[in-house]
């Protein structure tokens, strides 16, 4: 069953067409990744899906009362509003303090509950955002470049956690990512976006598509190699070429 679907989405800012002819849907338990160059309209597309932005054409359907966990690409909490981590997590609707503390431990920062949001490092901030999104008991997680600011081991742990969550709760996951090697291993479906959908399909199909190779180069066949051999070495220490 499709949780969110989009038909013929187009977004236009003045004369500039950011997105056109986008058809999309995501089902329960599916992991879909959007890849594409800077300025391809990836974040705009996510914002249209969550309802933060109205498309200039086309329509978006969300199942009634759909719980969305969203991790934005950028979120600046100014110093003007006092907000500690514990209070921010409670804004997700989860008022159970011990459950919130457990989630904080799960994303790897158990001792930050009393810190002010504005004083967190970039990596800690991303983890708090993820914890916030998960505490809302989402049916679909929408992540916009969630691993920015994280170091290599943290990136690996991040994707492991996402996978656990999917297995535990069966929630769908839609993310924008530049971690091509991870994308190619962990996604059910990859969408290559550049103003419109260039190509789409399983990771192995997409990495062979000429449209994908035109954008990311043939080099990334390495990523495909990782996909095929994922059991004979650890990837987390492998640098992306």
């Amino acid at each position: 069953m499709s949780l969110i679907s989009a038909e013929g989405i187009g977004v236009q800012y003045g004369a500039r067409r950011v997105l056109q002819h986008m058809n999309f849907s995501i089902d329960v338990g599916e992991v879909v990744t959007i890849v594409g160059p800077n300025g391809a309209g990836k974040s705009v597309f996510l914002r249209v899906l969550i309802g933060a932005e109205q498309p200039s054409e086309g329509r978006v359907n969300r199942t009634h009362g759909l719980a969305i966990g969203y991790v934005p690409q950028r979120l600046s909490i100014g110093q003007t509003m006092p907000m500690n981590v514990a209070r921010f997590l409670a804004l997700s609707g989860s008022q159970n303090a011990s459950q919130n503390q457990a989630m904080l431990a799960r994303v790897g920062i158990p001792d930050r509950a009393k810190e002010q949001m504005a004083s967190l490092s970039g990596g800690e901030f991303q983890r708090v955002l993820l914890a916030h999104a998960l505490l809302g008991e989402p049916q679909v997680l929408i992540l916009d470049e969630p691993t920015q600011g994280l170091d290599q081991p943290a990136v690996a742990a991040f994707y492991r956690l996402i996978e656990e969550v999917r297995d535990e709760r069966g929630c769908a996951i839609l993310m924008v990512s530049h971690d091509l090697n991870v994308v190619m291993r962990r996604s059910d479906r990859v969408i290559c976006l550049n103003g419109h959908i260039c190509c789409e399909g399983t990771p192995s199909d997409v990495s062979l598509a000429p449209e994908y190779q035109a954008l990311f180069g043939v080099d990334n066949e390495d990523a495909l190699a990782l996909y095929h051999h994922e059991h004979d070495h650890t990837h987390d220490t492998v640098a992306v070429p």
């Binding site: 969550i50 309802g51 933060a52 969203y70 979120l75 509003m81 907000m83 804004l91």
Partner: protein, 259 residues
């Protein structure tokens, strides 16, 4: 004197929490525009002989809604609001001057006349303040989320425009309530100064709202006392007390940090 104290406390209780949103959302100029529209509201209510409270409320609502809809590309928001705030004030003053038939004590509306608050006024002040406070409490979590990040709010199904309207209504109510207490020119001060004063000591938004109400109540009562003793205008004295609280709070915070 008791009526004046009750009026000041009523205003401070709602101005503190609402002022926090004005501070967080950088709406200071927005508050000014709405408050200055109140003078125009006074002129119109006198001209059509309707209740001042009603006239000010309606005018403040119109002004706040109009400015919030003008999301300009050619002008920055503060420019637009600067135009709106001062235009409203000027228009209001001109409109009042046309009311030759009635004797209007303009100073009372510009700087408040809390000592002249009657029982009916007091009831209006408490009703308006309570309504605004209930509105804020009811929408609190949604308002906080929208203020934090509009996209995060959208993902949770919160309509940012609707929440903005809630704030506008609350602001209009407070302006209508406050014009009798501190006057049109100093309403923004009662919103911003207590909230800003307690910022260094708050670790959560709720704490800041409660502290701000407390600081506001203290300023109102202290201002009343000082103005009684020194025979100074009450509204400005209250704001001056709030300013002293702001300075002392920041000095104390800096001292604690330095220690």
């Amino acid at each position: 004197m008791v009526r004046a104290a009750l009026a000041g406390v009523g205003l401070a209780c709602v101005a503190g929490p609402l002022g926090c949103f004005v501070v967080w959302r950088r709406m200071a100029y927005f508050g000014d525009a709405t408050a200055h529209a109140a003078i125009l509201g006074v002129a119109l209510s006198l001209a059509f002989s309707v209740s001042i409270f009603l006239g000010v409320l309606v005018m403040a609502l119109v002004m706040a809604s109009a400015t919030s809809m003008l999301s300009g590309r050619l002008y920055a928001m503060d420019t637009l609001l600067g135009v709106a705030a001062h235009a409203a004030l000027a228009l209001g003053l001109v409109a009042v001057s046309f009311l030759s038939g009635v004797r209007v004590d303009l100073m009372a509306y510009l700087f408040g006349d809390i000592l002249a608050v009657g029982l009916g006024d007091l009831a209006m002040i408490w009703l308006g303040a309570t309504a605004a406070l209930i509105l804020l409490c009811w929408r609190w979590t949604s308002l906080l989320t929208v203020t934090l990040n509009a996209d995060l709010a959208a993902a949770r199904g919160i309509n940012a425009r609707w929440e903005q309207q809630v704030l506008i209504v609350a602001l209009a109510l407070v302006v209508a309530v406050a014009i009798k207490v501190v006057g049109a020119l100093l309403i923004t001060a009662m919103l911003i100064i207590p909230a800003a004063a307690v910022r260094p000591f708050a670790r959560t938004p709720e704490a800041m709202a409660v502290f701000a109400a407390g600081a506001g109540v203290f300023s109102a009562l202290a201002g009343l006392g000082v103005s009684f003793r020194l025979d100074t205008p009450t509204g400005p004295t209250m704001v001056a007390c709030a300013a002293v609280v702001f300075v002392v709070a920041n000095l104390a915070f800096m001292g604690r940090r330095g220690a």
